[in-house]
Symmetry: C2
Subunit: 239 residues, 2 copies
């Protein structure tokens, strides 16, 4: 675990991964096909992750100090719930009840949500931006072992979209108005990476009492962290 965290800043010039483009294409991205869990576990976990991301975004909407901020975070909440709805629809295709499929993941993801929620509006905004960015990116790669059709639908569902821009705009305005926020939020962003990648890692399918081969994980986590670094750059913050 520690190895990929230490390497965080190692590849700042990695080419922009396809997941960051407006119309993502799934081919050629390093994926985790061999570690993809069974489809129902994948979908149950991914859906509950979106619920947690929705709760963070809606908490930020409630705490927004301005009407424009509330509008922006309501939009982020709406886009997150659209992803949730799409994943629930995939569970429906597999004839599974969403609550039942999500249940096994509730406790650990609730705990993740609790410790990453942040102590004020600014931290919660950074959480919404950083954790959604990392987890959506990860979930697209983790879908590598699902059927081609399902993989394609999930890539479309979890593709980056306008919600991110809305958060970036709110945070840039806030940091410009109060430059002392920058170091606190940069530190908060760093802390989030560790907790978020632990959640990601716990989703990998591996035989009990074995750990997945680090060498196989390394390129994926390197890409995830490179994308995270670019997200922090967009805020003018050091990752």
């Amino acid at each position: 675990m520690a190895s990929f965290l230490r390497r965080r800043a190692k590849n700042p010039d990695t080419p922009r991964p396809r997941s960051q483009r407006k119309k993502p294409v799934v081919v050629n991205r390093v994926d985790l096909a061999e570690l993809t869990p069974d489809p129902v576990s994948y979908l149950g976990r991914a859906a509950y992750v979106q619920l947690a991301l929705f709760e963070t975004a809606s908490k930020a909407a409630m705490a927004a100090p301005t009407t424009a901020g509330k509008h922006a975070l309501a939009e982020v909440s709406r886009l997150t719930l659209a992803r949730y709805h799409g994943l629930v629809a995939e569970l429906g295709r597999a004839h599974r009840e969403p609550a039942e499929a999500m249940e096994p993941f509730r406790r650990s993801i609730d705990e993740f949500h609790r410790v990453t929620l942040g102590s004020d509006w600014y931290e919660t905004l950074v959480t919404s931006y950083v954790t959604a960015g990392l987890l959506d990116d990860f979930l697209v790669r983790l879908a590598g072992g699902l059927s081609d059709d399902q993989q394609r639908r999930i890539a479309i569902l979890l593709a980056p979209d306008g919600g991110t821009d809305l958060i970036v705009e709110q945070l840039r305005v806030a940091i410009a108005a109060n430059p002392r926020l920058a170091s606190r939020l940069a530190m908060w962003g760093r802390r989030l990476v560790g907790d978020t990648l632990l959640v990601a890692r716990s989703a990998l399918s591996a035989p009990v009492d074995t750990t997945p081969d680090e060498a196989r994980l390394e390129p994926v986590f390197t890409e995830l962290i490179a994308a995270h670094t670019r997200r922090m750059d967009a805020l003018g913050l050091t990752a």
Copy 2:
């Protein structure tokens, strides 16, 4: 104000208004065309009302004691945000910024949201159900003075849908498991009617220092309260 509150239980047998049907039709419903504010005020207020309803639903999602309850309230949040998004799109057609159009209504609606949020999950569920039912119903009638096209789009946007059934199911299960909840929630529902109809009434356009003709309002509020009574009936509660 007091007159329509006192008459609450007077017309329990009023025919089911069209707004309660699956595919609502706008014709022939008692409306408030003469008291409709200008379109931008109408849309700004209606949009901020949906934001407040979203905050109530998402609060209930966060507080849900079960995964099924969280799923249900996430769906209600999603449907509420779809309404919000549609109203913001109407503001876009009028070339207005959503935050600016909503700003004048923020303080009073935030206060309404605060006092109606409820003290536990059950009360918040009832709030979500009762206040959304009354306000969406009211807003469709208040649209009576807008252009025909806009009126039609708003009637479709605010039409009753599946979200209500999800809340009813959660509440019926909760009341069946704990019959003592019934009287507390019935009382809470009664209190909500007064606060909600005050919010509705404050939306009516009337010359400063005059009050709208009670005789003109009476049939509308009678219909709204009859629909509310049926909603409480669906929970097995007395309105």
